[in-house]
Amino acid sequence: MKIRVLVSLKPGVLDPQGRAVHHALEGLGFKGVEDVRIGRTVELDVADGTSDEALDEMCRKLLANTVIENYRIEKVG
C-alpha cells in the first residue's frame, strides 16, 4: 500500500525558506505570487492492512513535529 504524507508548516509559523523562495520567484519576474510555504512529502510503502491509527502514530511520533507542523495522510494505491 502506497502512502503519501504531506508535512506542512502550521499557519502562523514563520517560514524563512518559503520567504527566500518567494523573493527568488519575484526576482525571476513572476508577478502575483502572494505567498510561498515549503513543506515535505514522505512516501511510504506499507503492508496492506496497516491501520489508519498506525499511520497517524508514525506521523505524530516521527514524520512531523506537531509543535510546528501539520500533516495529511493520503492513500495513493
Partner: protein, 223 residues
C-alpha cells in the same frame, strides 16, 4: 567526591569531545562516553550532556532521529528522576524533539549558518545550571548553528516565562528566536537546552571563560 558525568555521542555529533574536555577541566573528572545505541546509561550519573553536531546528518529535522535513538529512553528516565541534563546546540534540538523541552528549533530567519560569539542575558540565575551568574548579567558565548530559531506558540511561551523557564535570552537576536530565547529550562529545572556553546568558553585560550560558571554551578549543586 568525583563528578560522574556522561556525554552522549550520536552518529554525526561533533562537539562531544569539546564537551567532555570542558567537563573534565572544570570537574577534574573525565566524563563517561556513551554511544547512542546503548540502551542503558551508566548508573548513578550526576550529569548528562547531549553535545552539538549534526546527528544523523540532520535528516528529517535537526535532532529528530537522535531523539528516537535507544539511549534517549534512558535519558528521559534519568531526567524524570531529576538527573541534570544539558543539551547544547544539536543537543537542544534533540531535547525538544524528544519532548523533554517545549518548543522547536527552526531554520535561522536569515537562512544563514551563524558562527560567532553573541551576548546573552541571564534571565534565570536560580537554576542548578545558572546559579553562578547574576540575573540580568550579560555573558558572551559562541554560537554555531543553522537551525537555532526557537519557536513555540504564545500560550507555551507564556507558560515557560511564568515558570522561569527562560534561562538565557539573546541580547542581540541573531536567528529569529521568538522572544529572543536562547536557552530553556524544563518545569522541574533539571533539563537545560541552549543553542550557544558554553563548552567553547572555558579557558582563556578560548577568548573568554563565561561558559565555565555553568559547569561550576552544576558541580556545586551536586555537592
Amino acid at each position: 567526591m568525583s563528578f560522574r558525568a556522561a556525554v552522549i555521542t550520536f552518529p554525526g555529533s561533533n562537539c562531544d569531545r569539546d564537551m567532555a574536555v570542558a567537563i573534565e577541566q572544570v570537574s577534574s573528572s573525565a566524563p563517561l562516553r556513551v554511544w547512542h545505541g546503548d540502551a542503558d546509561l551508566p548508573e548513578r550519573l550526576d550529569f548528562i550532556a547531549l553535545p552539538g553536531g549534526f546527528s544523523y546528518g540532520d535528516y528529517l529535522r535537526s535532532g529528530a532521529m537522535a531523539a528516537n535513538s535507544p539511549v534517549m529512553r534512558s535519558v528521559k528516565a534519568a531526567a524524570d528522576r531529576g538527573v541534570p541534563v544539558l543539551g547544547v546546540c544539536n543537543g537542544f534540538q534533540v531535547l525538544t524533539e524528544a519532548g523533554l523541552l517545549p518548543g522547536a528549533l527552526m531554520r535561522n530567519a536569515s537562512q544563514h549558518f551563524i558562527c560567532r560569539t553573541v551576548p546573552l542575558r541571564v534571565e534565570n540565575a536560580q537554576s542548578l545550571f545558572t546559579s553562578g551568574y547574576e540575573a540580568g548579567e550579560t555573558i558572551n558565548i559562541p554560537v554555531a548553528h543553522h537551525d537555532g530559531n526557537y519557536f513555540a506558540d504564545d500560550e507555551t511561551l507564556d507558560r515557560i516565562e511564568g515558570e522561569g523557564g527562560v534561562a538565557f535570552r539573546y541580547a542581540e537576536n541573531c536567528n529569529g528566536s521568538r522572544r529572543d530565547i536562547a536557552g530553556v529550562l524544563n518545569a522541574a529545572g533539571n533539563v537545560l537546552g541552549m543553542m550557544p556553546h558554553p563548552e567553547r568558553a572555558i579557558e582563556p585560550a578560548h577568548g573568554n571563560t563565561d561558559g565555565r560558571k555553568l559547569f561550576e554551578a552544576a558541580i556545586k549543586a551536586l555537592a
